[in-house]
Symmetry: C2
Subunit: 355 residues, 2 copies
């Protein structure tokens, strides 16, 4: 190792899901929305004058912040926007978790949390989910340097009720508590209504799932004005202009079309409920999903083998090799047609296993 | 202060230049390009199908990385892209400057450097520019935890020759040396040709100035494959998908149109040379500019007063209140028409001062 390499921050980077791009593939591996963004997004793109791109965007991202404040019924100074919720969460780890005490998050959860903790040299502990993959709220009632959990949790798909979430917040007045609501729109109760009561609560959401905008990279956080100011200070010390002009304009349109948003979410929920029935009949087991994915296992299949067999057919789902969940697959809810291709293959797979 | 606030990373954030947005304003305050992006950018925008926005972008940003590798005559594994060069530089500070020894950069330079150093708790020292605002290369021939300087320097507009840059790199085999070339296309010699000779050299450039894309947020770094791998590891541990789909497509078009790029740069250089003559005749003094701005002072004017007077006329330039440069104004080179408005006001201002 050369001398200059000694000063390098060494990390084990997060591994994102594969992003294959093959014609006719069925892509159910990264929890994207199977439906396009709201029609207003295409119209805003058409109306956009590229000549303005010579100018810097508004560093305050005001048009998007204002649209989100209105949508969430909070003041603009309670809203923070970033390059996907990953950017928001990374900056929140950096801003709020500067303690010698460990940050707490579940052992089975979004696999980026330990990566951020390692990147920023933050100590952490991971209380185990119970046997049914549920968060035990009492595990978070002890001294810590911060608390973060997704609700619904990923990849387990299970949600805590709002009163349980509030219990965790109430027991942690001395830490910042982050509720990561990437999947909340598909059936869980949001903690947004609690931000005016708890100054140390940060609720994070994303446009990547329920708003069909993964390709645009928009995430946001809502909290008390004081919390958001601290987060903005760190953000402005990192990169003044994170949201480009197109992101701001297109993002606003995605927020405004409430009817389209509801209709897409409803379609996905309907397909999910049908998937539960069909996969259940095939012998798959899964926790009760409040999200746009199912976390499935089968008593007679090895998940890794099924994953490989699906991949050969250009059907992509996600497999995690971590302990306790290595015999599960995370399957994003696609369109009815995409799900039909999946069911069809699984029926053939079942026959193959029986012969 | 509440208990949770004790764990907050407290910083003094960077103050970006004002981004006023008034009809008929003359905006010469943030070194934007007065000309629109390459025509291919508008075409790519028109051709873009918003339906794909439901999918994540390519986390490797391959189309843009490949286009830049070809442009810079390096391998794709030598190119890193980010959300403006600020994102690239922030991640580079975080990745490469982890030492107890101080990082070195000039006392008068891009004002974001001390902000990043503070944000990441990096010790630093700032060798003073000489009396004529020149970097003294010998100041960087001592033990350090890293070296960074812009070439041309900002806001002074002066450039070091390539052999001086190479001298600094050659004297620092044990540190990463970052050459920040935001303004290089307007008349300085790039260090890009040195990256294959020095494994510890990182050259950073941006689309915000010479490529008229400030509103799109694209910056990039070129270095050895090892250096770029370290930088990518930290980036993937922060946010896997920083570049959205539109940024990637539009960025590629901006790189490809070499003829348009050259013609806009040439126009700006021509306007700058004329500005030197006209402002010189008005009694302004300034260092020899290799950039798209002039750093002007006048023996009979107070810079801050002139700044305010210009602002009243909707002509925006940049004033810094730091010691040694508080009687200077940084004036971006605009179109000939915009510059004519500036000259016209300055002539009236001169008369006012004489009466």
């Amino acid at each position: 190792m050369k001398a200059w390499e000694k000063n390098v921050r060494k990390v084990t980077p997060y591994t994102p899901g594969d992003q294959p791009n093959r014609p006719r593939m069925v892509k159910l591996n990264t929890n994207e929305n199977p439906y396009p963004p709201a029609p207003g997004v295409a119209k805003a793109l058409e109306a956009f004058e590229t000549d303005c791109l010579r100018l810097y965007p508004d560093p305050k991202s005001s048009i998007l912040v204002d649209a989100l404040a209105e949508y969430c019924h909070v003041k603009p100074e309670q809203v923070f926007v970033g390059v996907g919720s990953d950017d928001v969460l990374a900056l929140a780890f950096m801003t709020f978790f500067n303690s010698d005490r460990p940050v707490l998050f579940p052992d089975i959860t979004y696999s980026f949390y330990p990566v951020w903790a390692e990147e920023f040299r933050i100590p952490f502990e991971t209380p185990a989910l119970d046997e049914e993959f549920r968060i035990r709220k009492e595990d978070y009632y002890r001294e810590n340097g911060g608390v973060i959990f997704p609700n619904p949790n990923a990849p387990t798909s299970l949600a805590l009720g709002r009163s349980d979430v509030e219990d965790i917040i109430r027991h942690n007045p001395d830490s910042v508590v982050i509720v990561d609501e990437a999947y909340v729109d598909f059936g869980a109760e949001s903690a947004l209504g609690l931000v005016d009561r708890y100054e140390n609560l940060l609720v994070v959401q994303t446009f990547s799932k329920s708003r069909s905008m993964a390709g645009m990279r928009i995430g946001f956080a809502v909290g008390s004005p004081l919390l958001i100011r601290y987060l903005n200070d760190v953000k402005y010390s990192f990169n003044s202009y994170t949201m480009n002009q197109l992101t701001l304009r297109l993002g606003v349109e995605a927020v405004r079309d409430e009817a389209y948003f509801r209709s897409t979410v409803d379609k996905i929920v309907k397909t999910r409920e049908e998937a539960k029935r069909i996969l259940g009949e095939m012998g798959f087991c899964f926790p009760e999903s409040c999200s746009n994915f199912l976390f499935i296992t089968h008593p007679r299949y090895r998940a890794k083998e099924l994953y490989e067999a699906l991949k050969k057919e250009d059907i992509y789902v996600r497999h995690f090799s971590a302990a306790r969940i290595d015999n599960y697959l995370r399957v994003t809810i696609g369109t009815d047609d995409e799900m039909a291709v999946l069911y069809d293959f699984l029926r053939r797979y079942a026959k193959r296993q029986n012969t």
